[in-house]
């Protein structure tokens, strides 16, 4: 008898009919003999509706009160799902984040979970009930309602699974698993039956939006086996696990990409300690997130060239800041390009295998794709290329590493 935490997102519970379909799925799992805890999001559209009400009143809305408001979204879903289960003859009980004691810090709108008191849930499971818990929300030490920020329901589910020492945390979503790359770009993309946590983290952080990155970190930290499945189709989805099998085969998990990037370069800055901080400090002070950072020795001696990428929305603001910095540092020139994308090859296999990077660069060169920046980590190689090469680059790499065929 396994203990399973299932999580259903906003689309999966987006209507009365879909809530009833989720109830059927949950009941089936329980009828197989498993003990089930369900974590749900707000019905799709509800959070936006509530934010609309708040913004009509205050801009920006008071963070504490916004959490009181938004947390009603999941509260509606838990009640309706518990009713739907009850109507199927499956005893169920709903709990808000506050009731189940999802203790968070006090950072309203983006709180982090500190602890979950599992006792109450455990008692209901022992009594044969399905427990339905509101995702995305918690309570701070003073009893104030908090929310984890958008997508936080995945994290709630993983944290609940960790607190209950569950056998598996299943994230039901509108895709049926993790693919070698986006099937909309490469139709031959293949669903991975399993992927390691490290690979999933890289895939998630590089723009593969199947799972919220924080939930993957959380699952990795607490060793919760995570599975991504479809709410609407049958299938066993993708298991995210700790075992690294067959690393000898130079396994590449997949190709992630990030659109909407922009690149900024400052040329000819004095090559001395502290210069990176002088350049990036004002950028992060303006709340702009920096992604890739590359520094090269410049052609002129005693100076260096410095390039970094930001989200395209932040490009203009970042450019203004960088120009001011350039002036104060007496830099030679500032360059920018907002028509670039990042393509990344991810796989634990590259740890033990040389030659992956070469094969990657070769495949891109064969298609005449010019590489503008390169950055690597232990299990990932990222390149920045012109926006127009996105689809071509992804397909070339998918082919070069034979990802359409299971290894």
């Amino acid at each position: 008898m396994a203990l399973i935490v299932q999580k259903y997102g906003g689309t999966s519970v987006g209507s009365v009919e879909r809530i009833q379909a989720v109830a059927e799925k949950v009941k089936q799992a329980r009828d197989r003999g498993d003990r089930i805890v369900v974590v749900v999001s707000a019905m799709s559209g509800e959070t936006d509706r509530l934010i609309g009400l708040a913004r009509a009143i205050q801009q920006p809305p008071a963070p504490r009160e916004l959490d009181v408001l938004l947390s009603t979204g999941e509260q509606v879903t838990i009640a309706l799902l518990a009713m739907a289960l009850d109507a199927l003859g499956c005893p169920a009980r709903s709990y808000t984040g506050a009731q189940v004691q999802v203790l968070t810090d006090s950072a309203h709108n983006k709180a982090r979970i500190r602890d979950i008191a599992g006792a109450r849930v455990q008692a209901d499971l022992d009594a044969g009930r399905v427990v339905v818990v509101a995702g995305f929300q918690g309570i701070d030490e003073h009893g104030n309602i908090t929310t984890l920020g958008r997508g936080g329901s995945d994290t709630s589910a993983v944290a609940m699974a960790a607190a209950l020492n569950a056998d598996e945390c299943q994230i039901y979503t509108d895709v049926d698993g993790v693919y070698t790359t986006d099937p909309r770009i490469e139709p031959r993309a293949r669903k991975l039956p399993r992927i390691t946590f490290e690979e999933m983290l890289e895939m998630a952080s590089l723009g593969s939006k199947v799972l919220q990155i924080r939930s993957v970190e959380f699952a990795g930290k607490y060793k919760v086996p995570l599975r991504v499945l479809s709410s609407f189709q049958e299938g066993s989805g993708t298991l995210i696990s700790f075992e690294e099998e067959n690393v000898e085969e130079a396994k590449i998990a997949g190709i992630a990409f990030a659109k909407d990037e922009a690149k900024l370069t400052i040329l000819g800055v004095p090559d001395q300690p502290g210069v990176a901080h002088k350049i990036l400090g004002p950028i992060s002070d303006a709340n702009i997130e920096v992604d890739m950072i590359v520094q090269n020795v410049a052609a002129h001696e005693q100076t260096t060239d410095f390039t970094f990428t930001v989200h395209r929305n932040d490009y203009t603001k970042a450019m203004d800041i960088l120009r001011a910095t350039a002036e104060s540092l007496s830099a030679r020139e500032v360059l920018g390009d907002e028509k670039i994308v990042k393509i990344s090859l991810v796989g634990v296999g590259m740890r033990s295998h040389a030659g992956i990077a070469t094969r990657m660069f070769e495949a891109l060169a064969r298609e005449g794709i010019n590489i503008r920046m390169i950055s690597t980590s232990e299990i990932k190689i990222s390149v920045v290329v012109d926006e127009r090469y996105l689809e071509l680059g992804v397909r070339a790499l998918h082919e070069a590493f034979d990802l359409a065929n299971a290894d």
Copy 2:
């Protein structure tokens, strides 16, 4: 510096604009130097929307889960009102029933308040904040969310005022006070500047729907001065107080009435102990509420005639039950009339004054109105008349007791 609890109903907070108008009103009161606690209902229409969702899933909805669902209605309002106050520069904090610890029994959908922990609210008031509390909801001793049933927000406000030992509980509604009778029937109806609790109880229970009757009982029990005011107009409304002034003047507070009544009579039942219970037991077992009860010695000896009234919706069901009872009691006959109304004269003055009943009957007789039933209490005389005499009867009594003119 007075401590005032203000309560705004669903219509008063029915839109973003109305919530902002309420915030202005609250801020004005605070700027006058008072400490303010605001209790609010769900935005009008919201509770019906939620009930619609629940019914689409389960009929009837599981009571515990229905409370989880419905309590989101007020939670949305408290957050929005706190934002609106904050936007006006008036520091505010919202609390759900669970957060403020409105402790109730476990009777879901119709819970009764047992206790309110005022400490948290008091601390915020001390810190200069307006406290916004969700009406209609509480929490039971096991931490389950409960609701007080429709209209329960009035009771929440009164209970909060009692717990905080407030100077006044102000109920803002869509009428500007309590009238001598319904102005739609008698345009000369006059707003009462004050009325006693007993009178208000009789008025409320007799169909004057300004206040929820349970909240009046609660206010009476805990000696909370209650004031009814309009959300939309200026004015000091009607104060419901304990002082009975000028009772020498044979003061009549007003004329209440109940439409949609129906009358059932059973003739010739054996006049022996327990017969009333035999007649009314099956009626109340069927969850039908009985209003007036009149028993007379019948023309035939050893038997009695028994008449009672019920809501018109229950008439057919009650008639079927009564016919079965009549058979088992060998009663002579069963009669019914579903076209009757009840008109009542209410006033503490009648305690010390004889002749009020006579004046009432005389006024009705003058208009040719036949009285079908009479029932009296210490401060009330009710008569049942044919439905078609409702308006005429009310106006005749309003005139006979000179209610259009302040005494």
